[in-house]
């Protein structure tokens, strides 16, 4: 098991270097002179150009520039934002909790509703309930979530006036971030109404980001359950007179959950992609909005560093899911 973990982690390094290489090359393909882009000056004099080229290391051979870049990354230096002059890693760590909070809530929402929906559809296979649930799941699966977000805003915020349209909390409240998670921080602040405000800001983004995972989990749970319910040991459990609830809930569901956990793990990448759209719609101050803004401002170092950091996190989470899978499923563990 330990050698498996080590091997799996070591394999990440070449992938990570390759992503760094691709972003490094990609940034150099962007039309326009990097010095002009960074200094914001046009028609720069040759002396100043030479000075900046030296300052930015652009007079070095390209391979040397790349090695220097890797060296910087290895020391936690992902570059500096052009527009704010803040280190990219600092910006990332400030904004990441917002995305993490949203993604966690969306995943909880999807799992808590998706697994029961799948189980109910599987046990009532071929009935009206099954068709309704699976029809809804396929609709959710096909949903353009940016439009879904606008519809929810139209209905809940504009027509009913129930939820706020953007941000993480009312501007009324201000407190120093402790954990970076608005739900926890607003609770800790003890200010009256702060927690409720944070919750109401979180509801619509959670639904929007959670819709596709919810549909995927429901569909996956149903098909896994259908497969398991046909197994001999389920028939045995039924035959020895166990209650249907026990058969489905204990005997079948536990085994059906193995593929479902994998699917939940695989959603991490999709969740980051969905977060970009969700954050953009709800002006949620997270990594997604940050990356879109960096494109609009042509702040390419942010784009470069941001993509690298996001990919790194997705890769690490995928490894974690792989390991968790080994723990959950003894067959996999022993096969290795």
């Amino acid at each position: 098991m330990i050698s498996f973990i080590i091997r799996r982690v070591l394999l990440v390094i070449p992938t990570f270097v390759a992503i760094a290489f691709l972003t490094f090359v990609a940034i150099r393909l962007v039309p326009g002179d990097p010095v002009e882009a960074r200094t914001g000056e046009r028609g720069i004099s040759p002396e100043r150009l030479a000075y900046f080229r030296h300052e930015l290391g652009l007079d070095q051979p390209v391979w040397k520039q790349f090695l220097d870049y890797l060296w910087q990354i290895a020391h936690g230096d992902f570059g500096t934002s052009i527009s704010t002059q803040t280190p990219i890693l600092t910006e990332f760590t400030t904004l990441f909790p917002a995305t993490l909070e949203l993604a966690t809530c969306a995943m909880l929402f999807a799992t808590i509703l998706g697994i029961p929906a799948g189980v109910i559809a599987a046990t009532r296979r071929g009935t009206f309930v099954d068709y309704t649930l699976m029809g809804a799941a396929l609709t959710g699966f096909s949903m353009p979530i940016f439009w879904w977000g606008l519809l929810l805003i139209l209905f809940f915020s504009v027509d009913l006036g129930l939820t706020p349209v953007s941000g993480r909390i009312d501007l009324l409240y201000y407190f120093e971030p402790v954990t970076g998670f608005m739900l926890i921080d607003s609770w800790l602040s003890g200010e009256e109404g702060a927690f409720a405000s944070a919750v109401s800001h979180l509801i619509l983004p959670t639904i929007v980001l959670g819709t596709i995972p919810l549909a995927t989990i429901a569909r996956m749970t149903r098909s896994a359950m259908l497969e398991i319910l046909g197994e001999d040991y389920v028939r045995t459990a039924r035959a020895k007179g166990l209650s249907p609830f026990r058969v489905v809930g204990i005997h079948a569901l536990r085994n059906a959950l193995i593929p479902v956990v994998t699917v939940i793990g695989l959603q991490v990448g999709a969740l980051m992609a969905g977060a970009v759209l969700t954050e953009y719609i709800f002006s949620w101050p997270g990594i997604g909005s940050w990356l879109i803004e960096s494109i609009q401002r042509r702040d390419y170092p942010v784009l470069q560093g941001g993509i690298l950091l996001v990919s790194g996190i997705v890769i690490l989470i995928n490894i974690f899911v792989d390991l968790l899978y080994g723990v959950l499923n003894p067959r996999i563990r022993h096969a290795r």
């Binding site: 070449p14 992938t15 390759a18 992503i19 691709l22 972003t23 990609a26 940034i27 393909l29 962007v30 029809g135 396929l138 609709t139 699966f141 096909s142 949903m143 353009p144 940016f146 439009w147 879904w148 606008l150 519809l151 805003i153 139209l154 504009v158 259908l226 046909g230 990448g269 999709a270 980051m272 992609a273 969905g274 970009v276 759209l277 953009y280 990356l291 879109i292 494109i295 784009l303 993509i307 996001v310 990919s311 997705v314 890769i315 995928n318």
Partner: protein
């Protein structure tokens, strides 16, 4: 059902061919059939867009801005689905948008499938460094979240319809490469491949004529999934202002400019999104039907 069964017993026929049995399985799935009809309708609309659309998608009727759909108070019969913020006919834009969306979906599938099949077969038949290089490269593509990768590619090569297609093709490439390689590796060890080799077939012939046709079933299912996802991602890029550019009637781009009219003219927002949803749903229904019909494990279960 019982009547059918006795009829089948009474008149034994020759076993149906693979296509006939596939179609029987597919058409038994009523949802898939509905999807197919919807999709057929959308393809029809897309092909004959210039005959069906009452106006040009970019013609501006300056005196008729933000007219609601005809059945709403204040609507105008001349503009069935209303007009947008600068007086363009929504129906005509949606009809031409169908052409764009289906074109994007189809282009992405054809491109990623063609390149994916070649790379996947090479990875399966050329062990050693070609295989390693290809598969590692695919790992790298897969480790960047799909929409983010498309966004980065478009940010670098510039936002346009063609670049949207290029970017989404790159995003979906790894799925085909992995799928083709895995099934080709499995098929490669079968007796019929050895027989073909003994019969003197060259590697290229074995790759494309002997092995590839036997790997097609999962590839076709993946293709259906790719079309619907490609349409969704192209619309997402359009919505973020990184895809098709105005005045193009691409559905996502239509939503991008409509955001500020959410309150005053909601139909500008609801209609393009509904068009995306219906199209993607139809394709997914067909895709589910294809998967069930092509996967022998799911058949009649």
């Amino acid at each position: 059902m019982p009547a059918e069964r006795t009829a089948a017993i009474a008149a034994p026929k020759a076993p149906p061919g693979p296509f006939a049995s596939f179609f029987r399985d597919f058409s038994e799935n009523r949802a898939a059939l509905v999807g197919l009809i919807l999709l057929g309708l959308l393809v029809f609309i897309a092909i004959f867009a210039n005959l069906l659309a009452p106006y040009s998608p970019i013609e501006q009727f300056r005196e008729f801005t933000r007219i609601p759909p005809a059945w709403v108070e204040g609507g105008n019969r001349a503009f069935l689905l209303g007009t947008d913020e600068i007086g363009r006919d929504m129906l005509s834009r949606l009809i031409f948008g169908a052409r764009l969306s289906l074109f994007i979906g189809l282009s992405v599938v054809v491109a990623s499938m063609a390149v994916g099949i070649v790379l996947g077969l090479v990875a399966a038949f050329a062990p050693g460094w070609p295989s390693i290089v290809i598969m590692r490269a695919m790992d790298v593509i897969l480790s960047v979240p799909s929409l983010l990768l498309a966004i980065v590619i478009v940010a670098i090569i510039g936002p346009s319809l063609t670049n949207t297609i290029v970017a989404i093709t790159v995003v979906y490439l790894p799925y085909y490469v992995r799928l083709v390689r895995a099934s080709a590796l499995q098929e490669k060890t079968r007796d019929y491949v050895t027989a073909a080799r003994v019969g003197g077939a060259g590697t290229l012939r074995i790759m494309f004529r002997t092995v590839l046709p036997n790997c097609m079933a999962p590839i076709i299912v993946q293709a259906a999934l790719t079309i619907s996802n490609a349409i969704l991602e192209a619309a997402a890029l359009g919505f973020l202002g990184l895809g098709a550019q105005p005045p193009s009637p691409e559905w996502g781009a239509m939503l991008a400019s409509a955001r500020e009219f959410l309150q005053s003219a909601p139909w500008i927002v609801t209609e393009p999104g509904l068009a995306i949803l219906i199209t993607v749903l139809a394709i997914n229904l067909v895709g589910d039907g294809l998967r069930d019909a092509l996967d022998p494990k799911m058949r009649r279960s």
